[in-house]
Assembly symmetry: C2
Amino acid sequence: MSSRGNILVMQSGGCTPVINRSLYGVVSQALSTDEFCSIFGAIHGVEGLLSGNIVDLGRVSRTELNRISRTPGAALGSTRQKLNVSDIEPILEQLRARNIRSLFTIGGNDSAETGHSLHLAANNAGYELAVVNVPKTIDNDLTETDHCPGYGSAARFIALATFGAGQDARSMGRAAPITIIEVMGRDTGWLPAAAALVKRNAQDAPHIICTPELPLNEDHFYQRIEEAYKNYGFAVAVIAENTRGPNGVLGEQEKPWFVDDFGHGYYDGPARYLASRVSQRLKVRARDEKPGTIQRSFVSAISSSDAKEAEMVGRAAVTAALDGHSDVIVTLVRDTGRQYKCTVGLAPLDKVAGLVRQIPAEFLDADNLFVTRQFLDYARPLVGRLPIAPGGLPSA
Amino acid sequence: MSSRGNILVMQSGGCTPVINRSLYGVVSQALSTDEFCSIFGAIHGVEGLLSGNIVDLGRVSRTELNRISRTPGAALGSTRQKLNVSDIEPILEQLRARNIRSLFTIGGNDSAETGHSLHLAANNAGYELAVVNVPKTIDNDLTETDHCPGYGSAARFIALATFGAGQDARSMGRAAPITIIEVMGRDTGWLPAAAALVKRNAQDAPHIICTPELPLNEDHFYQRIEEAYKNYGFAVAVIAENTRGPNGVLGEQEKPWFVDDFGHGYYDGPARYLASRVSQRLKVRARDEKPGTIQRSFVSAISSSDAKEAEMVGRAAVTAALDGHSDVIVTLVRDTGRQYKCTVGLAPLDKVAGLVRQIPAEFLDADNLFVTRQFLDYARPLVGRLPIAPGGLPSA
């Protein structure tokens, strides 16, 4: 036992299927170094830290820790609470009271903001504190890192879901030929883009991918759907939940379909909206599907390389703190060699905080509402091995 | 080569993740017996049979056949076309022209009707034809069989999806505490019922299961959701797509939200409808999720016992035809022993045709909007091994 004091871990923002694998990485690495006294966890992130709702992760059994590492959702509970200036002093008090000298948050760009603020506040107060963030988001939209732990597994889910739903729509023929799948991603389309990873030829699903990076021209969309339907007898589009038209909300949805007591208006999700219009135009059944949180929590779709990297960034955060780093986030750095390999790096929190990395232009094919080969080359190693669709059948 | 003539295989109705494993079973068994000359497949079922759109499955390579066996969707294409009386003579002509003496349809209760009609017609015409159906439906609603191939894998998807979405809702806490998942099943709730298979205690998701077998009292639903939310900080309901109120469509949805050019009205799916009402009542975010065809086509959720049985019923159909059976469907018969084991049986097509097996009363707990332990004992062996959720964390 040492002078390094105690550790506190938090989880924050939307969950991923491997966010607990990072937690496992932090805890295992901390236990293995024997440099820390206690390993605390804050329940629901800053909410637990403020209210003193804190657990002792050092007392969790090995079996239970292994089980947690394979469980989706955030084992400590997550939070979407933004840090207020008035929260900082009470948080420092909690840290002092428990002699917490290393703070790890497994989170995204909001958590980077929180981490940076706490680092500055501790510095100003003369309180020695290492703040090291562990990257996590299925949205894959953090700057400074090649990709984000959590993305590979959610992307694998979307690739497999599109493969399956595509084979289904193709099989059903005119009984139900159109499927529109609505996929998560707050400001970016990295996840819908992954829908193309099993596709081998023009006939395979998906035929259209819509991302928030490119405002959608609805006529273009209907035209592409109609083309695919005419050529192949079915059509599949995968669209981001925040797909927007040039003027914001899609199409004729001027009024919300439902207004709650707070006055918040609810609009149709874009899949439902577009499916109803396609159905009306082509006079065929168009399905809309929305896997929702299932896409970020499905254990049988975890990518093995994603799981490994999620643990690696957790372990690297502990090493970074021991090496004297603070105000940093662990990053993934891709080797330039032909064989896929990633190592870890570090980036300053303020170069990540509040920023969003959109899909670069060379990854998107705006004319065809699709992604490019460069994107597929980038994403393929992140999702693990995928099935290969069979070819055509010999006619009799 | 023999006097048994040729074989024709068809696939029909909604797809399952293992419908092609049954196709593989039929083709492999037929190839291994060396009793048949050609193994034909009709594209899109009776549609292909009527139009002569027929493939030669005997010429498909082993590699390709293996690949097909692991691919979701119906490799031959499916159909929802009902057989008209006027179709029967042209179909018999096609069969005669190709000397098809064994007809296998991988399908559900509609296909049983088609098979029975074709058997009678061939009999009347003095044309020797063995009609043997291979059971298949994620709905699990065929009579005469313990369960239906396809159900175990779709049920596994729903169990894992509910586990994941449940852990997610629990983690997010007050940021997004309510999730309502809408699950397939035309007339029965076997699939939403499977959502309970990972649950270990009252706190775990799901807290409510709604099936078409029991008309839903909405107040009861809201009350149960509120209870779970108050007790555990989150609530998850899994509901059948055909969940209905005592008077049909749920609640206040008197008018469809959209009417297509044929005059078909579209109502909100029950998940979306209930989520909006829950959100309004509890003043919290309630998500609605709809995995749609993804739940019946997700290769990484295939249950190994389901896949094995799907192949077994395909092989058994060929054996039954060779043994001189016709006008029958292969069934699964569960051993009475403690260890799960199923063997195959046969049932007359007219005891399956057009019939629906609803969930028996002893499998449903109407008071608690849930399923019983008897149901869980019935379903558990069908879905394969499931993850175990971790317990609570020790407070500091």
